[in-house]
């Protein structure tokens, strides 16, 4: 045990401890403050015999004179075993449900190691979420990281819960779905809350409880009134648990991280306390790299059955997509689902802004053998037509409906129908991919035949009449 009472400075969440020996970068520290409060911390910098320590649970109650620091000789770890399923932990991975301590099979550093790019298996298994706006246009595949960009007051929690619920129930790929068979492998949800309110967290726990999914769920909760700096560890705790379940227990794991905005703010707090040169809007210059070490832990690994799919949720300050947090996230993740306030105001659930949303992996996850051969073309056509419809609507606002050509009018009608029938669905309504595509064909059938430039002729011939009905 290396105990020190040599704290020199305390600034925000940081402590400068002097005269330390054999301390290493990243080492875990146990801090005990004069009022009895305890906190964990880790070494951010070691310069000679001076260590800079970040206290995860804050520095309230500490003083330089009587603070005791014990360097533990290891980095922050999480004990993992199958028993973590069904359990609730705090933001630092300690049981928070009154249950017993986990007897770990192994202890893992929460920082993980990067997957060798050569060892990655390309994510191309379609996940049927049962949500048309996702399955039809921006499909999610196993091993993808697809964030939900939202704003205050938008129903991102409902959507995330719906995805978790419906993907969980199916737990099979689109191809298997068509063949009517169950896919090998179990499904689990790892949920990490960072700085969200009790009510939001309660919504998710209830949701998991009522659908009996709680036995397949691991929760890590750092709520709004929990220490802010602890949030830096929380997503890494969750992903360490997810990696264990995916690559050791061969499970398909869906990780929901909410709200990444609060995570980034905690990072900014530490950076500011260290007086680092800030990048945009005061966020540290390494925010991209830091976020990448979280998001890139999604994926599939060759030769292992499990997978990690991430759905991070972040609220865009002032719905601004160019804010550093959504901006850098978008550069790392494989697409984004953007929620739109106008659709929400008009009462459309889920209010997914289809045009700026994107799933980068959809090309590989759909098509023959995965969903259906016409999926890509139909999806492109729906996009194109909806975009034209929106444009025509803007024109109509200025010039009036009468100024529109017949084609434009067809597109306007299409756009309205698309929002009302295709995007809109119930929170508990689950559509199979076949139902979603049928809906798509029904909608494109309203358009003039010459405008269907993005669908191959043979598919029009094959599916148009049968799918769209008459």
């Amino acid at each position: 045990m290396r105990e020190y009472r040599t704290t020199r400075d305390i600034v925000g969440p940081l402590l400068l401890i002097e005269k330390v020996v054999d301390v290493t970068y990243g080492e875990l520290v146990e801090l005990e403050y004069p009022d009895g409060t305890r906190s964990l911390g880790n070494v951010l910098e070691i310069d000679g015999d001076v260590a800079l320590v970040q206290a995860f649970e804050g520095t309230r109650g500490s003083n330089p004179k009587d603070t005791k620091a014990t360097f533990l000789g290891r980095s922050l770890e999480l004990g993992v075993s199958r028993d973590i399923l069904g359990r609730v932990f705090d933001g630092l991975g300690r049981p928070a449900d009154g249950g017993p301590e986990i007897i770990p099979d192994e202890r893992r550093s929460i920082y993980g190691a990067p997957i060798n790019p050569v060892a990655r298996d390309f994510p191309d298994d379609f996940i049927q979420t049962g949500v048309s706006a996702i399955d039809g246009l921006n499909p999610l595949v196993r091993g993808q990281k697809l964030p939900i960009f939202s704003g205050s007051g938008l129903p991102h929690n409902e959507l995330a819960a719906q995805i978790a619920r419906q993907s969980a129930v199916l737990a099979r790929s689109g191809a298997a779905d068509q063949a009517g068979e169950k896919l090998e492998g179990e499904f689990a949800v790892v949920f990490a809350a960072m700085g969200i309110t009790f009510e939001d967290a309660d919504f998710f726990t209830n949701e998991f409880r009522t659908t009996a999914a709680i036995e397949r769920t691991v929760l890590f909760l750092n709520l709004a009134d929990d220490p802010a700096v602890e949030r830096i560890a929380t997503p890494r705790m969750a992903l360490t648990a997810a990696e264990y379940l995916a690559y050791t227990c061969d499970m398909h794991v869906l990780v929901i991280l909410t709200d990444m905005t609060y995570y980034c703010e905690a990072l900014r707090e530490v950076s500011a306390a260290r007086k680092e040169v800030p990048g945009r809007r005061g966020y540290p210059g390494y925010l991209y790299t830091d976020l990448a070490t979280i998001y890139e832990r999604a994926g599939r690994v060759k030769g292992r059955a499990g997978s990690i799919t991430q759905v991070p949720i972040l609220s865009m300050p002032d719905d601004d997509k160019t804010h550093p947090i959504p901006d850098l996230t978008g550069y790392i993740t494989e697409g984004q689902i953007i929620l739109d306030r106008n659709l929400h105001r008009r009462g459309v659930y889920p209010p997914i802004a289809v045009l700026p949303s994107l799933s980068r992996l959809k090309q590989k996850g759909i098509g023959p053998g995965k969903t259906r051969e016409d999926h890509a073309d139909v999806s492109n056509q729906l996009f194109g037509a909806y975009a034209s419809g929106i444009q025509a609507k803007e024109l109509a606002v200025i010039l009036g409906e009468a100024a529109l050509s017949d084609t434009d009018k067809a597109f306007v009608a299409f756009a309205d129908a698309f929002e009302d029938q295709f995007i809109r669905q119930g929170t508990h309504e689950e559509r199979s991919v076949a139902e979603t595509l049928a809906l798509g064909w029904k909608l494109v059938a309203q358009l003039p035949r010459t405008e269907l430039k993005r669908i191959r002729d043979e598919y029009v011939a094959k599916y148009m009449s049968s799918e769209a009905g008459d």
Binding site: N116, F122, Y286, K364
Partner: protein, 602 residues
């Protein structure tokens, strides 16, 4: 070797004391695990070292061992089809060594030490050679002949040379220099990454690099030896565009640097390239490709090194006389790596926290591109020296899509081609989302003579006409937005339709459709002339009394819309479309027969 010890650890930066003999940019081994690091600052006896692996667990007192050599790459047979990290560690070998995750302290040489290559000498003993001369070849794979060069600094007389199967480090020849010193030549050379490889002289590059992407080849061409950048916000399609160029450009060797980007994108390349067939050689694309993969979650210092590792390899292939395409995706992540290291060094920051030398570093990197006369003597009988080129295409990821940020601005100062990606176009699923109004290429005049000779003498004129139609559309769109389409004259309405056709039927190209992803220059020319023919005939027909509605409803338009999906051996279809245009766009009422026959063909 000299040994020092750590006194400070701050993220990827380690400060060590006791390395007095070492020089700036020397490679060192840090800690018990021997992690790779590079000296980037020296103050007195304190050396600041950027470490290419995670530094967790390092602490004061840990040893630092000097190697006395700068960070270098190994150049020789075996680079093609390989996947390296930012400091040329072969990732497939690391996977076999350490499993699916990259643990620390593992290492492997860049070139396989055991593998034997068949060396065929191309000079006789007694031949006088100088640096850069080819002394023999290795058929590295069916596509690329690997030429073995005399190292740049050496010259003299070949004393002995042997053909046969050798490993990269075996001596294949001996050379006696003018002072009588004897040098063993192996197939492998070692070159420091931060030093550009020498060449005889730079020459002006004017030959177009065909990429198969219509908006690039026709409107904003790049030359072999040119420099281009692709800036754009996320989701606008930078990576897909880069992949398209890596796949279809007519270069002999492609070096693709995944610099701080997504792991799955590299996996995509790794799975796709061995399957895809190079339209020029008929062999898998992977056979001409070198991949450098330093994904965003891999150590940040190695990301900084990765672009240098990549371009040094590209220079080596250039020196053999090849046209090389080097792609860096994304240079912004490289710049951010510089910013992070600079911040840890507590340097005074420039714009947005980037180091003050950002512009210099970017310019120096892009300047390593170009077409050169390679080192080496001019072969007997040849009038000109061997030439080789490196075309550099860097993507830039500006925060929030803001093109005024430092990385974009510093890049624009040095590149000659600017492919601006627009998120608005991407939302409309107009791909590639290259904005035709703001993009530019300064190579258009240079490639025009090549177009005239190889494609058609009218190609440049057609390109310019199409460009002016698009420009005019943009001006007219303002008016339409304010007062409606009817306010335009019939001629202008025809122009608007043609512009739409150029956008949808020519510029839009689906990278994921086999029948659309690659378009040869000949096909591009036929397609564009077909669209422009329709435009001309529409104007004529209107002048002769045809109504706009009839013109726009001509059935041939659907054939034009689908012409881009025609296979290269269906070029005759264009003649048939042209004759349809002639018959369907005539003055007055449309002849019913023409409509019926056109309908029947579909």
């Amino acid at each position: 070797m000299e040994q020092g010890h750590i006194i400070k650890v701050a993220g990827p930066l380690v400060v060590a004391r006791g390395l007095v003999e070492s020089k700036m940019y020397d490679l060192v081994r840090v800690g018990e695990d021997g992690l790779m690091g590079e000296i980037i600052e020296m103050r007195g006896d304190r050396a600041s070292i950027q470490v290419y692996e995670e530094t967790d667990g390092l602490g004061p007192g840990d040893p630092v061992v000097a190697t006395g050599a700068p960070l270098s790459v190994e150049l020789g047979p075996g680079m093609l089809e390989a996947v390296y990290d930012g400091v040329q560690r072969p990732l497939d070998v690391l996977e076999r060594q350490a499993g699916s995750f990259l643990s620390r302290g593992i290492s492997a040489p860049g070139l396989d030490r055991e593998k034997r290559w068949t060396f065929v000498p191309s000079v006789e003993p007694g031949t006088r050679v100088s640096g850069g001369d080819i002394i023999g070849v290795v058929q590295e794979n069916v596509v690329v002949e690997h030429r073995i060069l005399v190292p740049p600094a050496l010259s003299g007389v070949i004393e002995s040379i042997t053909g046969g199967d050798f490993t990269v480090r075996d001596t294949v020849a001996t050379l006696v220099d003018d002072e009588g010193g004897v040098h063993d030549l192996a197939m492998m050379q070692v070159w420091p990454v931060r030093v550009p490889r020498p060449y005889k002289k730079k020459v002006s590059a004017d030959e177009p690099l065909t990429t198969g992407t219509r908006v690039i080849d026709t409107f904003f061409p790049i030359v072999k030896g040119g420099v281009a950048c692709i800036p754009g916000p996320f989701g606008a399609g930078k990576t897909v565009t880069q992949h398209q160029i890596a796949k279809w450009s007519d270069a002999e060797v492609v070096v693709f640097i995944g610099c701080g980007e997504r792991g799955n994108e590299m996996t995509d390349v790794l799975m796709e390239f061995p399957e895809l067939v190079d339209p020029y050689s008929g062999e898998p694309l992977m056979k001409r490709t070198v991949l450098v993969a330093n994904t965003s979650n891999m150590p940040v210092a190695a990301r900084e090194a990765s672009v240098y590792t990549g371009i040094t390899m590209a220079e080596y292939f250039r020196d053999m006389g090849y046209n090389v395409v080097l792609q860096a995706d994304s240079t912004s992540r490289w710049a951010e790596a510089m910013r992070e290291i600079s911040g840890r060094l507590e340097e005074m920051p420039g714009d947005e926290g980037f180091p003050a030398y950002l512009g210099t570093r970017l310019a120096a990197f892009y300047e390593r591109a170009g077409k050169v006369e390679c080192l080496g003597s001019v072969p007997a009988g040849a009038s000109v020296a061997r030439t080789g080129s490196i075309s550099v295409i860097g993507s830039v990821s500006p925060p929030g899509g803001d093109l005024s940020e430092p990385v974009v601005q510093n890049t624009l100062r040095v590149v000659k081609v600017f492919w601006a990606l627009q998120d608005q176009l991407a939302y409309q699923r107009h791909f590639p989302a290259i904005d035709w109004l703001t993009s530019y290429s300064l190579y258009v005049d240079k490639v025009t003579p090549h177009w005239a000779a190889d494609v058609s003498k009218d190609f440049r004129a057609r390109r310019d006409e199409a460009m002016s139609i698009l420009q005019r559309e943009n001006e007219l769109a303002e008016i339409v937005r304010l007062v409606g389409l009817e306010a335009l004259s019939p001629e202008e309405q025809i122009l608007m339709e043609t512009a739409k056709s150029i956008r949808e039927d020519f510029l839009q190209q689906n990278a994921f459709r086999d029948d659309d992803q690659f378009s040869s220059l000949a096909e591009q020319d036929r397609l564009l002339s077909t669209i422009l023919l329709f435009h001309a005939k529409a104007l004529e027909a209107h002048a002769a009394g045809a109504s706009l509605a009839d013109i726009f409803a001509a059935p041939v338009r659907e054939r034009i819309a689908r012409a881009k999906y025609l296979a290269p051996d269906q070029m005759a279809e264009y003649d048939s479309i042209a004759s349809d245009i002639e018959t369907q766009l005539v003055g007055g009422a449309r002849p019913e027969a023409a409509v019926a026959s056109a309908g029947g063909e579909r």
